[in-house]
Amino acid sequence: MGSEGQVIAAANTSFGGVISYLTSGSHWHGSTGFLDRIIQHLQYSAETLLIAVAIGLPLGLLSGHTGRGGAVLSMLSNASRALPTLGLLTLFAILIGVGLEAAVIPLVFLAVPSILVNTYVGIRDVDRSLVDAARGMGLRPWQVLLRIEIPVALPLIVLGLRTAALQVVSTATIAAFVGLGGLGRYIIDGQASRNFAELGAGAILVAAFAIATESIFLVCQRFLVSPGVRARTS
């Protein structure tokens, strides 16, 4: 009971502590400052997302267009959901060595299924009669894919990208535990040194980062998806 009271007491004073930690100017600058870590987090997230897209998008398009591989995708998606991020990160950290390289593989592995599955489903869901009409008018297969299937599947494709992006941001946060920089560091360090203010500040920064990412993708969706398609899927 006593320790619980202690924790709650600490919590009550901590929120104020968190805010002051966040707003303290010195914390924003320097190599362990917020700005640097935000940029790091952004870099790692963006780059791994690009790799995941480079792998997942073409495969998803191919799979959706030809209609094959649905079962494999389903299994991949389940595996990705069931295997804990932390486990994969620590495993690779030990086997390959703490740092950047070790984190990349789990990061990409966890992000790819979202892109793959959503792209696959998006393309599969395109009305077959549209494809038929397009072919009947004289569009070649790649033209059908590019000009008809992708634009119509775009809501789901962008959803896949958005989900993957959030996955990457989340995983990158945890990856701070195995040596990757970024905003997760505040959480890990804060926990280690029992500095609840730092812990909380890190949490808020990560949350803000995630919300910003989500918002950017939502805005992109609004601009990329044709109003004619948006209406059908809403």
Partner: protein, 370 residues
């Protein structure tokens, strides 16, 4: 001109979709492929633009074997209209129509200009141009589909049950539009439907197909109605084929006589006198422009001094001898309480009447010719 020479399509699992099909679609005509589900009509259509390739036999378009052409190039020269339109949801109506011209290399401006022309041609207003397909009704979508197919001015138009997904009223309008367009454009049209009435209405030639891909009869609509090849065609054509066949005969040849008429101002006594003089039980009431108002039954004129205009019996409908068929005339006589069909001109003024006997005489003359 499109020619099928002994075309067969057999699928990998052994199903015979099309069996030794041979026929010819003349230039500038509408050829309708009609039959129940599974008779191979759609497969046959799709072999023309190579969405399906035949197992054996040849299909010639304008004398050229279709399998010798690049499918995409072949298709850009043919219009293709399907059920539900197949409009691209992510493009505006105008961009949908402009698709093939753009594919063929036209600039966006030129393609759009052409698209606007076509929009007008199919009877849609300019305000539709910037809308998206989801904002259009079924009938409007189909019109856009037809416009899109005509955009590159192809000589051939392939239509796969294009009007099946809309309600009967809209379907009638679309069929009428097609006839109007065809009168103007004279395309070679191959039209697939399961509806024999649509086939009879639109087709210059009809190919009746049976399950298994056989061509059972290839003939004009009149001959299919008058002389079905076998029991299958007869049952497929359905009941009342004699009456429906009458729609191919013009009412122009009917001998019309002048009816006994009264005006709105005629008194009851006067009416009775006219009826007695003409030895008729029925009088046709006309207004000042000689438009027919209804039939007056003389026996119903009891003691009254004036005619009860509200008591006039309905005409049913009138017919126009210049435009209508014997079927319309016959129908008018059936509906008329006097057993007499009223013929009117373009302005709606009565030009004469024809009774059952006269119509029957005309029918007999027509069927004698068949």
């Amino acid at each position: 001109m499109i020619r099928f020479e002994r075309v067969t399509k057999r699928y990998a699992d052994g199903t015979l979709a099309v069996d030794d099909l041979s026929f010819e679609c003349a230039d500038g005509e509408i050829t309708v492929l009609v039959g129940t589900s599974g008779c191979g009509k759609t497969t046959s259509l799709r072999m023309i633009n190579r969405l399906v390739d035949p197992t054996s036999g040849t299909i010639l378009v304008g004398g050229e074997d279709v399998t010798k052409s690049d499918p995409a190039v072949l298709r850009r020269n043919m219009g293709y209209v399907i059920q539900h339109g197949g409009l691209f949801p992510h493009r505006t109506v105008i961009d949908n129509i402009a698709t093939v011209p753009r594919l063929l290399g036209a600039s966006r401006a030129k393609a759009r200009a052409r698209a606007y022309d076509l929009l007008a041609l199919v009877g849609l207003s300019e305000s539709m141009a910037k809308r998206y397909p989801y904002q259009l009704s079924g009938g409007q979508q189909q019109r856009v589909g037809v416009a899109r197919a005509l955009a590159a001015d192809p000589p051939v138009l392939l239509m796969d049950e294009p009007f099946s997904a809309v309600d009967p009223v809209v379907r009638g309008e679309l069929q009428h539009e097609l006839q109007r367009l065809q009168a103007q454009l004279h395309k070679t049209i191959v039209f697939v439907t399961h509806d024999i009435d649509e086939a009879v209405k639109l087709g210059d030639k009809i190919a009746v197909m049976q399950v298994g891909g056989h061509l059972v009869q290839f003939d004009t609509p009149e001959r299919i109605l008058a002389r079905p090849e076998n029991d299958f065609v007869e049952s497929f054509v359905g009941t009342d084929r004699g009456i429906r066949w009458l729609s191919f005969f013009a009412a122009k040849g009917l001998e019309l006589r002048i009816p006994a008429t009264i005006e709105t101002t005629t008194s009851a006594d006067e009416a009775r006198r006219i009826a007695r003089d003409a030895s008729t039980d029925w009088l046709l009431a006309l207004d000042a422009e000689r438009h027919p108002l209804g039939w007056l039954e003389v026996a119903a004129l009891n003691g009254g001094a004036s005619i009860d205009l509200a008591g006039l019996r309905s005409l049913g409908h009138t017919f126009r001898p210049d435009d209508d068929s014997l079927r319309a005339a016959l129908d008018a006589t059936v509906l008329s309480p006097a057993g007499v069909a009223v013929a009117v001109d373009d302005q709606g003024s009565v030009v004469g009447v024809a009774d059952h006997d006269e119509v029957t005489r005309a029918i007999r003359a027509a069927s004698g010719r068949a």
